[in-house]
Subunit: 158 residues, 2 copies
């Protein structure tokens, strides 16, 4: 997993603080806030936007707003938006290769135990992430952090 | 996650069938059995060997044996041996960057909620994989498959 999930999730929280009135926050400011490379960050934010997590606005006053409330954005939503929805483990059915396997015999109709177990583990992981919203994450952030972010944004201009 | 986990897990089962008497199975035969590239497969098997899951024997009669019984090899063991033990999500603490963050103020002593939630999901995934042994996987394989593998191995020579 790349750094995009961390970047994206933190940007959503920061956008929630800085854009309380629904105003769009420019990518350049979000990148500056976390010392991140703007072009690559923008790709992550566009991915979140395509998933409806953020909404992008073009133009001089352009940037990103939340696409929906933090209560409706789960960590799984962020992960899937950034990393795609494929399972970490991809079964390529090598059990059907070689050794004179008879694919017509029906013995491969039942999924392989390895793929089944990997799938089950993936689902527990997804379930755990789907149970955590960005609003839950917000509860963990010390109040000072949000206050300092707002002061910083007011100072650097927007 | 690469294909190595699928390859490695299936090779362990095949080695258990073909090497019932403890004999080493050559990489070339394992590669042939699943139509896999021998050199890359060998890297995976060496990784399993370093983790004690397999044991390698050099020489003309060389190859791989099980390093311990299938009951003592979990899917997590295989994943960690092949993919390493790092979490899928790596927190780089971008929350401590920029915005005039005061790293000495102690507000970052508590782990970030995002990293905590990602870590918790990782642990549920690992717990699920640690609860599944390759012996469990073996129970799912139709008896015909093991029989055919043995017949194939006897025919291709070893």
């Amino acid at each position: 997993m790349g750094q995009g999930v961390e970047w994206g999730a933190h940007c959503c929280l920061l956008i929630a603080w800085l854009g309380e009135e629904g105003e769009a926050i420019p990518t350049a400011k979000l990148a500056e806030a976390f010392d991140l490379p703007p072009a690559y960050l923008n790709k992550c934010l566009q991915a979140l936007s395509r998933a409806g997590i953020l909404a992008s606005t073009a133009g001089v006053k352009g940037g990103f707003r939340l696409g929906r409330p933090l209560e409706k954005i789960t960590l799984l939503d962020v992960v899937v938006a950034i990393e795609g929805s494929e399972d970490a483990f991809r079964c390529s059915e090598i059990r059907q290769n070689g050794m004179g396997a008879d694919r017509s015999a029906g013995e491969f109709l039942r999924p392989c135990g390895i793929a089944t177990a990997m799938r089950r583990a993936e689902l527990t992981w997804r379930r755990e992430l789907a149970a955590q919203t960005l609003a839950d994450m917000m509860l963990n952030v010390p109040r000072d952090v949000a206050m300092r972010a707002k002061r910083w944004y007011a100072a650097v201009g927007n």
